[in-house]
């Protein structure tokens, strides 16, 4: 267990955030000791996103994912079809058991001494296990299976896990964002668990701290005008790189809605948000270049409108905007992006893009091409973002630069609670309410001795600091 850093010199962890001024010390982004503490206090406890069930559709299929700095094997069992997750570290000498990113396996055999595990993580063999000159058949295999996550959840196709047996249920962890995550994982016609994710998925490494893209930049509308100006000038800013895009003003009868930036200071989740003021769904707007794609989505939207005829649509996804699940996942209806910390100054950004399971090929191709145009190093948008993310870290870590603070006071003090999402602070859509909520939760995790101190296991806890 890494010792909890309560004080560095004459400053405590709490002193690095100044709620009155609305600032956060750059030290939190560049200090390796704080990074190590984050891995212990946050990534060992939180529910973390692992992937999507459509990546491993068949018995024996596996992918390698990550929980903090560590790799996990996510595998669909050959017998009971259940998905489980295990630390990718042989129990004998700690060798990485699986060295492929994905595949299908009967067993996982460690290349060091041939300890071998089945798809339930059970140790089923070891080199020389029966030899009278070695184990003599005495190896207690039932005690030496792969280390399994403490809790695992398949939430409408999305796969999540935590190392902490005391963590609350996944739904309690999500709180009022449960409905939004479910909505984002639905097909465009509103049916549950309706997505297939494109494989292989996008993954790339950035020389920056995980919080720069994963914490600070999720829901940061003020950057778009400047950072993405060139893409906007090329009319690539519209939702699908489209014929005209989502121009609500063009609608004959605008669908009543309000846009916000929101943050739950107790849970740490937050982001963009659209509160709809009428049942049903907004009128479908044509937005695709490719022939036949609008026809598909128009029909799907009509079916969804029937499903939601007597219901208000969830506030995220399908045009409502994206949101972040603490600590490092960004959720939208067409992509799940998450940031995998490697060290204080290295992070990998993983993106899963999805499409309706039942979509025909021309629709799948169009959605995939859109995702590639938008995301990743060769996309038009994220390459803009990476320019910022890459340079923030070196420009903030110098002996002088790290003594300065970041400004997070945009909209501070202007937020209000709203009964539509209990406990969540609503603020102007260009404010930094979501970022402040993340830091409230970040501080709570960094200081807490266990989940007993943390909301919602401790229902009375109030983590809001600003």
């Amino acid at each position: 267990m890494v010792a909890i850093i309560r004080a560095r010199g004459d400053r405590s962890i709490r002193d690095y955030i100044d709620p009155e001024r609305g600032t956060v010390s750059r030290e939190l982004y560049v200090n390796p000791d704080i990074f190590e503490q984050e891995m212990e206090q946050i990534f060992q406890r939180c529910w973390l996103f692992l992937g999507h069930e459509s990546q491993i559709p068949n018995p024996g299929d596996f992918i390698i994912s990550r929980m903090g700095t560590e790799e996990v094997i996510v595998v669909r069992d050959r017998k009971d079809n259940q998905i489980r997750a295990f630390l990718n570290s042989c129990r004998h000498r700690g060798m990485k058991v699986v060295r492929y990113d994905q595949g299908n396996a009967l067993i996982f055999t460690c290349p060091f001494h041939a300890w071998t595990y089945d798809t339930t993580g059970r140790l089923v063999g070891a080199g020389f296990q029966h030899s009278p000159e070695a184990y003599c058949g005495t190896l207690p295999k039932e005690q030496w299976g792969l280390a399994e996550v403490a809790q695992f959840k398949n939430f409408y196709g999305s796969l999540w896990a935590t190392w902490d047996p005391k963590a609350p249920s996944f739904e309690e962890y999500l709180g009022p964002f449960t409905e939004s995550l479910r909505h984002c994982l639905q097909a465009s016609d509103g049916t549950d668990a309706g997505l297939d994710m494109f494989t292989p998925f996008q993954r790339h490494r950035l020389p920056t701290n995980w919080k720069v893209p994963g914490f600070t930049s999720v829901t940061d509308l003020t950057h778009t005008a400047m950072t993405h100006r060139s893409a906007a000038a090329a009319r690539l800013h519209q939702d699908r790189g489209s014929k005209g895009g989502r121009d609500r003003a063009r609608q004959a009868t605008p669908f009543p809605m309000s846009k916000y930036a929101i943050g739950d200071h107790n849970l740490g989740h937050g982001g963009m948000c659209t509160l709809y003021h009428q049942n049903g769904v907004p009128e479908y707007e044509e937005e695709w270049y490719e022939a036949g794609v609008d026809d598909y989505f128009r029909e799907a939207t009509a079916r969804k409108a029937e499903l939601l005829a007597d219901k208000i649509m969830a506030p995220h996804g399908w045009g409502g905007g994206h949101f972040a699940i603490f600590p490092s996942v960004m959720v939208d209806s067409w992509r799940l992006r998450w940031w995998q910390p490697h060290s204080v100054g290295v992070v990998e950004r993983w993106t899963l893009s999805g499409v309706d399971k039942t979509a025909p090929k021309h629709v799948r191709d169009a959605v995939r091409h859109y995702s590639e145009r938008f995301n990743g190093p060769v996309g038009f948008f994220e390459s803009d973002d990476m320019e910022n993310w890459n340079y923030v870290f070196p420009a903030s870590q110098g002996a002088r630069a790290r003594k300065l603070d970041y400004y997070f006071a945009n909209g501070k003090g202007l937020g209000k609670y709203n009964d539509r999402l209990p406990g969540v602070v609503f603020n102007g859509s260009y404010t930094e309410e979501a970022q402040r909520a993340r830091f409230s939760r970040w501080l709570a995790f960094m200081e807490a001795a266990s989940w007993d101190d943390l909301y919602p296991v401790n229902k009375a806890a109030d983590h809001r600091i600003w």
Binding site: A105, T116, G125, A126
Partner: protein, 76 residues
């Protein structure tokens, strides 16, 4: 009557041969067991064997993974 094919598991090609032993191959082990391959993971280390003979009677009729250097003989 022709002799069943015996796989050569030693020498420079032994490991590759072991990796591709097909299901149904008859196996004897250096510990006196005998059985039939029910699956081969293709990792060059193990085959899954259903035992028909074993020093531990409880293992007869069950499947176990057998390490390559425990195999005495493999035949068609």
């Amino acid at each position: 009557m022709t002799e069943p094919k015996k796989y050569v598991l030693s020498g420079p090609h032994g490991a590759l041969t072991f990796m591709s032993l097909p299901e149904g191959t008859k196996i004897t082990t250096i510990y006196g067991g005998a059985g039939e391959i029910t699956a081969n993971p293709g990792d060059g280390a193990y085959v899954l064997v259903r035992f028909t003979e074993h020093q531990d009677p409880a293992v007869v009729g069950t499947e176990e993974f057998v390490f390559f250097n425990e195999v005495r003989e493999a035949t068609e």
